[in-house]
Symmetry: C2
Subunit: 151 residues, 2 copies
């Protein structure tokens, strides 16, 4: 676990270096886009697990969240993008850059639950999907509480 | 092909009905987010095929594009969202709502090339990836030319 975590932190750092040519405003816009697109897909799963379950809809939504979660968005947290404007002013807290261990742990928890959500969605087990949606949403909320400035 | 196309158009219409409770400004914001997030991932693949090839980077980027392409974004083109503001004023042309056959065809072409990009990325064949990136980018451009208002 500890090794995996250090590896994740190292990969984020490496990715940041590799993307050094990216404009700060683009990096902010792109990460805001990733989260907003996931928000749509979370809303779709929520509609299904709280109302009439639509297996295909949940699969498509869960696959999108999974692929975005695994896309390496850490690379978009370039040094210097703790302030600045993409689509809107960034709401990233400074702790993202100062508490690498905590953010690495949060990112890993989110990825784990996103991967599990896609697996569960494929089975079409509605009770399991509802349960997994709750777990996934909790990792979103946890990260927002710790690392996103409230409006 | 014709049947598939009609099915795609029907599914888009159906999805639109199912998402009728979505706020127009959210629908616009979410579709803008999907495209912007894909733009990042296209940029990453471009960097790889034009410079030092990074297999893992291309796989992650191609998977994200594939999942977004297959997520059913047609549902975000709700009636009445031909005008309005998400992150910014929508640049969708009215033809999206009036030429369903043409937009259906463009969407299918894009999905086909996005699925192929993910397959090719997994092989790590750099020449094939470069070739497929060109084909995929051409479907993006084709759709922008026909359906996106120039800035």
């Amino acid at each position: 676990m500890k090794t995996k975590l250090l590896l994740a932190v190292a990969l984020i750092a490496l990715a940041s270096t590799a993307s050094a040519q990216v404009k700060p405003e683009d990096a902010i816009k792109w990460r805001q886009s990733g989260y907003a697109f996931m928000a749509w897909n979370m809303a779709r799963i929520k509609t299904s697990v709280e109302g009439t379950y639509n297996k295909e809809e949940v699969i498509k939504a869960a696959n999108a969240i999974q692929a975005i979660a695994n896309s390496g968005m850490g690379a978009l947290y370039l040094p210097g993008t703790d302030t600045g404007t993409g689509w809107e002013k960034t709401r990233a807290k400074p702790e993202i850059w100062t508490d690498k261990e905590k953010i690495g742990k949060a990112a890993m928890a989110f990825n784990k639950e996103a991967n599990e959500m896609a697996k569960v969605a494929a089975t079409g087990d509605t009770a399991a999907a509802k349960d997994q949606f709750g777990k996934l949403a909790a990792t979103c909320k946890g990260c927002h509480d710790d690392f996103k400035i409230k409006q």
